[in-house]
Symmetry: C2
Subunit: 454 residues, 2 copies
């Protein structure tokens, strides 16, 4: 039997196991779900053990755990580390889900659940590929380590110290990330750039308690108005970020970069219709993809204050809050951007209220690698064989903090090799994953591991 036969024979079973995996509500940002995150890790361990991987262990990190495994019996062959994450985003707003987020449903060739695409379906593919190779061939073509984590969605806060403390154990030629995707159903891509991340909460406090807006309106500052003014001061109507010093460390897009990006078709009209908007937005002087891939951003992810319920309440509230994230590009650093934001807020807080910023999670450094890295070349070969097309050299507006950590601590670049697609609602209600890509990913990993042996 060869690995392809093994894969073909076991798809029904694989799908069933994926559904089991998806039922575990492993939301890393909620403390009350910490046990579920751990449970998801244990589930992954069981798969790896049954597959035939060795030294399978749950490693404590001081936060959510890491699942490790290896198979190191191919001397003179490269060593790659496969990365993925078994934690998920939160589910709000719950009422918009058509089926419960942790009760997976298979419909029209897709599986619907929180985490289906980001990242459980995606990361299970290489695990099943390892199983197929080990069960059908009795060995792997190269040395493989597995590093599956449970804190990606909160920025992997305890991993920098953890990875640095286990450099020998995690040493590898490069990392293969199963937390990524292709360009479309028939167009592959290699991800060579990721944005960094800086996450803050902005809190504005006015009077010590909610007061009557008739008695105090026009007499004292209103924290909601003050918050709105501070937020409006951060970003111009044209999309340019107005935080003083924000762009200082930004490496501009070179002509080569712009040409690489230009190669990539972007159906702006299709996106516009899908999102139901009548206009795009952003920094002038850049195309949509240049902004998405190569320019830093500041977005308010949430805002709240005062009375939000049904009806009317004539209150001048005590407080107002906002959650802000900045996506960074080389060479911005998250801790510096956080400091610049705090300064800006201090300078733009109207009298009569107090405003403070608090960093909400570890930031992520921006990341860039070459398309000619040996791992990218091998990945490119396999993608061409599968898709019969050259992959685009793409960047993402998103961040994967652990990618920068692997480079800093291990000197290892990360080749993005995942099979999610951008329309799978990864941070939204009704997230889903295409099952044909789930199958494709299993095959692609088998092919890639063999290809890397040559």
């Amino acid at each position: 039997m060869n690995w392809q036969t093994y894969l073909d024979d076991n798809q029904a079973n694989f799908e069933s196991r994926l559904l089991d995996f998806l039922r575990i509500p492993s939301i890393s940002s909620l403390p009350e779900h910490a046990d579920a995150v751990r449970q998801a890790g244990a589930w992954v361990m069981a798969q790896l053990r049954d597959a035939g991987m060795e030294h399978v262990e749950l490693m404590e990190t001081g936060g959510h755990p890491v699942v490790y495994a290896d198979w190191l019996h191919a001397p003179d062959k490269p060593t790659v580390m496969i990365y993925g994450h078994f934690d998920t985003q939160p589910v709000d707003p719950l009422e918009l889900w058509e089926s419960p987020p942790f009760a997976p449903v298979v419909k029209d060739g897709c599986v619907y659940a929180r985490g289906a695409s980001d990242d459980k379906g995606n990361m299970l593919a290489p695990v099943l590929a390892l199983e197929a190779l080990l069960k059908s061939e009795g060995s792997l073509p190269i040395n493989v380590k597995c590093f599956f984590e449970g804190q990606e969605e909160i920025g992997s806060p305890t991993l920098p110290a953890f990875i640095a403390a286990h450099q020998t154990k995690f040493a590898c030629d490069f990392v293969l990330s199963a937390d990524g995707g292709q360009w479309s159903e028939d167009q592959p891509a290699l991800l060579v750039g990721l944005k960094g991340l800086c996450a803050l909460q902005l809190d504005v406090i006015g009077p010590a308690y909610d007061v009557h807006s008739g008695l105090y309106g026009g007499v004292i500052q209103n924290p909601i108005h003050a918050l709105a003014a501070i937020l409006t001061s951060m970003r111009g109507a044209d999309g340019r970020i107005l935080i003083e010093g924000f762009y200082d460390d930004v490496v501009p897009l070179s002509d080569v970069n712009r040409a690489e990006i230009e190669r990539v078709p972007y159906d702006q009209e299709a996106v516009r219709q899908k999102l139901g908007i009548d206009a795009f937005f952003g920094e002038p002087g850049y195309t949509t993809l240049e902004r998405s891939w190569g320019r830093p951003t500041l977005e308010v992810n949430g805002i709240w204050g005062g009375f939000q319920g049904e009806g009317v309440k004539t209150v001048l509230p005590s407080e107002a809050h906002a959650k802000i994230t900045c996506r960074l590009v080389a060479n911005q650093r998250p801790e510096k951007i956080a400091a610049l934001l705090a300064d800006h807020v201090a300078r733009h807080t109207p009298p009569g209220v107090k405003a403070t910023t608090a960093i909400k999670e570890n930031g992520a450094m921006p990341y860039l690698m070459s398309g000619s890295h040996p791992g990218n070349i091998a990945a490119r070969d396999v993608l061409v064989e599968i898709y019969d097309k050259e992959p685009f050299l793409a960047r993402s507006g998103g961040s994967i903090p652990v990618t920068a950590m692997f480079l800093e601590s291990l000197g290892a670049y990360t080749v993005s090799f995942g099979f999610a697609l951008n329309d799978e609602r990864q941070h939204s209600p009704n997230e889903f994953f295409r099952l044909d890509n789930f199958v494709r990913g299993q095959r692609a990993y088998c092919m890639l591991l063999h290809h890397l042996a040559q």
Copy 2:
């Protein structure tokens, strides 16, 4: 027995009845509490019947009901209508209440509950005064009608049509409102001016669903940013409202007005410390009281959008919302102000989102009456006797919609004769009412009804 003896003998019983009244969760803005509002009305009816009032009935208005009663056996005497309301504000945020809002607690001479001050304790005082007069004297000094409503906190939306349809029934020389207060524990006031009200919700919609802020940040407009920009465009940093046409119909404060207001001491420092703020705010060129009493305002009462929970969610949300109320002065009209706001929003909505405004409840017209109105003169006499001080001629930054309705439909002015105080947290958690003012109000109404008979 005279009425003072009756009052003295029955205070413990009155207090117990007040607690019963306060236990009814008669929140008019919440549909699920409609039965409780009705129940509060029924409770008031029982008090009036037992007091000896006649023609006690629950009148249907198409919304929350009105409780009516009368005693009309004093020919050649004036007819006054006593007004109050048995509905309450909502209770959010519940977690800040030290005792449950509808489980009244008596502590340090005060009763703590939602509605204690606004308006149940306050309105129960004249009801008990009527009882004392009827039980001790067998009659009332003048003709009295009672009009107690259950929709004041939502702007009395069905009352304009209702009052207009019963002009004969409600005809009176003037109204005595038990929904008001005095200046302080030892300083009385007559309320001669009220602000109008216009309440709107502003809804901003961007993409059809929440999207990933890494993929779409800096590419599409963010509804929260757009909302912040729209709100910031409505009001200058100096407090001046920037809605085009907003001030057109405003009658400026005359020198006489300003002198009346100047008479009133305002301990700005005490207010500042009580509220815990370091600066005041508002339209330049006006004192704090002039702004509070005589200038229109715009306040955002609530704002929400995107992710508000614990942790981080890198989302660019689909929608953002704000609740806005404007307090109006003569001769602004709520429907015109609502239209001006809608226009302003249309002109200041950034591209890439849609913004709409929706009127959330009937507006209230602003209201002004003379200090020399016979009702005010009689009230002044009684207040001087009780407090041994001249009352201030005060205005309020708040609105009482029904006051304008009585003037328009019945040609009847409203004399404010209530005993709440401004620090009783009427629209905040831990609302309370001073029991000595509860007693004082009962006495004051007995005195006033006798005084009006002369």
